[in-house]
């Protein structure tokens, strides 16, 4: 059974075709496409929005690359929340049009679910067996926008055990990278610098929030800021707009000579990983889960993967990095299981910007 998945919840336009809920036949993300070239020039920026421009070519490419005709699809799954209402509506409306046109069932999917299902997918080219869903599972979703511990009792049966009360883990990586004058995106930058550093040099706070599975990373970010300031460095002057995104700003290079960036990055990374691993371990034991699943951009962090695997007694699944970021394949996978269970959305499916996982 082949499902088309469409994802437009934030700033990426993505579509994918997945077979049997596990095999990715095609996956296209808008940022990989040179839209300008495709349109043979500058497209009318002022009149339309990014998703509106990208959605048709992205979906078309996903279907073409799958080697299937649209009529061979069994259904169309689409993210209907959480996310930007204006972005979500583009995907939802396009999915509706396509589903109606080809007389296919429409399935609305929660964006957070997609991060869970990324672990149970594999590209068509790979012959290696993929782990099949077992329940109960515990999912730790750590991205720029979310940090959540979710108990997965079955397909579509979730309980959010805890989440961040302020900054998400991925956001903390990004902002601390900025404070240290490192490049964007912050996750990989901190990881590579931290490998040369000693995590014992700085004792940074860990917000345990005992008795809950909630997280807090805002205080850690501010603690790093104060260390930076103690070295006489003003991290705010580094924020030179686009220049700071593309690498260490010139002014910051001399300043960083004084600051033990590697040690600070290592200490920070350890503080984040410590809390994520300990809380996940506690929840895994309390709920006696069969497997632990990582999802979201921070799941690509090597230290998190290693520590999590070593600390937990049950199997830990980590998706390939390409599936850690937003794409259409997991949406299609969720759609597959929904359809198997006889579920489908009605034609009046509407976007829910603040959709909760339930």
């Amino acid at each position: 059974m082949h499902i088309l998945g469409i994802e437009t919840s934030c700033d990426e336009t993505a579509a994918a075709v997945v077979t049997g809920g596990t095999i990715i036949r095609s996956s296209v993300v808008a940022s990989q496409i040179d839209l300008h070239r495709q349109y043979g020039g500058v497209f009318p920026e002022m009149a339309s929005r990014q998703h509106v421009l990208s959605i048709a070519p992205v979906v078309q490419q996903a279907i073409e690359q799958s080697g299937l005709a649209p009529q061979e699809l069994a259904g169309i799954a689409v993210t209907y929340g959480p996310g930007l209402a204006g972005s979500l509506v583009v995907g939802v409306n396009y999915a509706k049009g396509l589903a109606f046109g080809y007389d296919l069932p429409l399935i609305g999917v929660n964006h957070i679910e997609a991060h869970i299902y990324g672990n149970w997918l594999r590209p068509a080219a790979e012959t290696e067996e993929v782990s099949t869903p077992v329940f109960p599972s515990l999912a730790l979703i750590v991205s720029g926008g979310h940090t959540m511990l979710i108990l997965v009792r079955g397909h579509g049966d979730y309980e959010v055990l805890g989440q961040t009360l302020d900054d998400a883990a991925g956001e903390a990586f990004d902002k601390v990278a900025r404070l240290l004058g490192l490049s964007y995106p912050g996750g990989p930058a901190i990881q590579s610098v931290a490998e040369q550093g000693n995590p014992r040099v700085f004792s940074l706070p860990r917000a345990w929030l005992r008795g809950t599975y909630d997280f807090s990373f805002s205080g850690l970010k501010t603690a790093v800021l104060h260390v930076v300031e103690q070295y006489g460095v003003d991290p705010h002057q580094w924020k030179q707009g686009v220049a700071a995104r593309n690498g260490v700003a010139a002014a910051a290079i001399s300043a960083t000579r004084l600051l033990p960036v590697a040690d600070l990055a290592a200490s920070f990374q350890e503080a984040v990983v410590d809390v994520l691993v300990q809380k996940t371990k506690l929840a895994a034991e309390e709920h006696q889960v069969q497997q632990v699943i990582l999802g979201g951009g921070v799941a690509a962090n090597r230290m998190l993967r290693t520590e999590m695997t070593q600390s937990l007694d049950c199997p830990v699944l980590v998706p390939p990095p390409v599936l850690c970021t937003d794409n259409g394949a997991p949406i299609a996978a969720v759609g597959y299981y929904r359809l198997q269970a006889g579920e489908r959305s009605s034609w009046d499916l509407d976007v829910v910007a603040n959709l909760a996982l339930s």
Binding site: R49, S87, D166
Partner: protein, 165 residues
């Protein structure tokens, strides 16, 4: 330290996380549909913290988290909707326009925009502009500037409530 209050401006200090949250709470209580609060200040200066207080002042009881990556978080459980917007990752007016973020401003709820200084030109002319700055590890400077009669009235109410003046 008494606050400096001149016309449509209030400049004061917060000595703690709890105090910043309390200021936010009072501000939230005075918010009306269509209001726009623009927040400016470096990393770790308390923008999200202040917004958490504002949310509590609106009777929103769910966790208010940073919208840096999600770009906007909507909260509908309170007295009026709260649209918590963050321009940190956006670097051009075009990008902000394309994502439809401006549609939320001056709508049926309160819009709080973090990193509003990234896009000063596309922010509404009439607004409450709040600048946060680091003074020490725990102390923050909070400067509030009102533009337009609605925000001057709001600031007057806030001043009376917070400082009794």
């Amino acid at each position: 330290m008494s606050p400096v209050m001149t016309g449509p401006t209030i400049d004061f200090f917060s000595h703690s996380v709890a105090q910043t949250r309390r200021f936010g709470f009072r501000l939230g209580q005075f918010a009306q549909p269509g209001d726009v609060f623009c927040l400016e200040g470096p990393l770790g200066s308390g923008k999200t913290l202040l917004t958490q207080g504002i949310g509590q002042g609106l009777d929103i009881h769910t966790a208010i988290t940073s919208p840096t990556f999600t770009l906007i978080n909507e909260y509908r459980g309170g007295r009026i909707p709260l649209y918590h917007i963050d321009l940190y990752r956006l670097h051009s007016d075009q990008e902000i326009w394309n994502l439809g973020l401006l549609d939320y401003l001056e709508s049926d709820g309160l819009s709080v925009v973090e990193w509003a200084d990234q896009a000063k030109r596309v922010m509404p002319e009439r607004r409450l502009w709040i600048t946060l700055r680091h003074l020490s590890a725990t102390k923050r400077g909070i400067l509030m500037q009102a533009k337009g009669p609605r925000y001057i009235a709001l600031l007057t109410s806030f001043r009376r409530d917070a400082f009794g003046g």
